[in-house]
Symmetry: C2
Subunit: 214 residues, 2 copies
């Protein structure tokens, strides 16, 4: 397996956590998202992934894209330890938590969107940060509402073992902290974040600990 | 099963298609996203879904949110006909196609984001449309690249039966057409769209055919 990612990409960070939790052997290739105008736009990479986004995983001659699709693939091919619960209802809860981050928060705040705001729309740095923090606050408010006092929330988002919800949560909190978003309003989110950070799979996947970190 | 949606919401449209394909009995409740400032912000609905978004499905005492999580749930509980293929690699391809729309296109162009652009950032109608069409074009270029000439693309996005990729594609194309986005550059996307529209499950889920249509 070959894993193409970038140290600071949230979606790559998700996969690093899952690969470590499941102890899946792989080699890493770094795709620098800004050097030389962005290595993801190079013809060879574009051929690999027409979306021009990381992460990409090559496994068994198949090219896999979109981090949530890859997480499901890893769980189906390497089921131990599982990163999704067993029953349809529980799986739906965990996937919904992950999708709040993957669909409502991260897409509005990734590099290409922030670039569009400042370069194409001419927004100030301050207006860009206000945008960023607006969607982060809305998302974490929703997540806190879904997690706090829910009977199935445990040490992690769902029960006492990590799932794809936690795998999305840690990079999202890391990202929010990088942009100095206030986090006091989300005690359950932060409790789970801090619990995850104590596990070697999460700690080792941190952007600062990657070979391509700057 | 009770399905809370809105005729024009793309994510509700996805679920209507899946419920029809699988012939799952349900009652519908309409949540008007702009009347009275938006019925999704009413306390009772917020209690049901702290995300204040549609669709929401209530089934067996469980509240389900996030359309892709609900599609997976429906497929696990009502497996016939399947809306995901069988092997992990094929499932990963179908999920990735769906996620291009669910993560890279729709989140940038939904109602609350467009409202932020015009109301909070003071963008003109023209600048808003340029934003809309920019992300639509980027997404459909990626999708066309993933679908055209791919050996597994068939009558539908993957093979000859509809999957969650087609279930996301039809509402996304409908939405793009509503905003007059040029679609000539995506012949495979449009061929699949037109094929889907011939099936009663897709045709009957069209926004104009819903009881709450305006």
């Amino acid at each position: 397996m070959k894993f193409h990612g970038y140290f600071r990409s949230s979606a790559s960070y998700r996969l690093r956590i899952a690969l470590a939790l499941k102890n899946i052997p792989h080699e890493q290739a770094s795709v620098h998202l800004s050097r030389g105008g962005g290595e993801q736009f190079a013809p060879a990479f574009r051929k690999l992934n027409p979306q021009m986004l990381v992460p990409v995983v090559e496994d068994d001659g198949q090219v896999l894209t979109q981090s949530l699709a890859i997480l499901e693939y890893l769980d189906e091919k390497w089921p131990t330890p599982p990163i999704l619960p067993k029953t349809p209802a529980e799986r739906a809860r965990v996937r919904a938590l992950a999708l709040v981050m993957a669909c409502e928060m991260h897409p509005l705040n990734n590099l290409r969107v922030l670039n569009y705001l400042t370069k194409d729309l001419g927004l100030s740095e301050e207006a860009k940060l206000t945008w960023y923090r607006h969607w982060i606050a809305l998302g974490f408010q929703a997540l806190e509402g879904m997690l706090a006092d829910h009977p199935e929330t445990g040490r992690f988002c769902h029960g006492d073992t990590p799932t794809i919800a936690d795998i999305c949560l840690v990079p999202q909190v890391f990202n929010a902290k990088r942009f100095d978003c206030p986090m006091q309003g989300y005690p359950t989110v932060m409790r789970i974040y801090e619990g995850c950070e104590k596990l070697p799979a999460f700690a080792g996947a941190h952007p600062s600990r990657q070979p391509d970190a700057e």
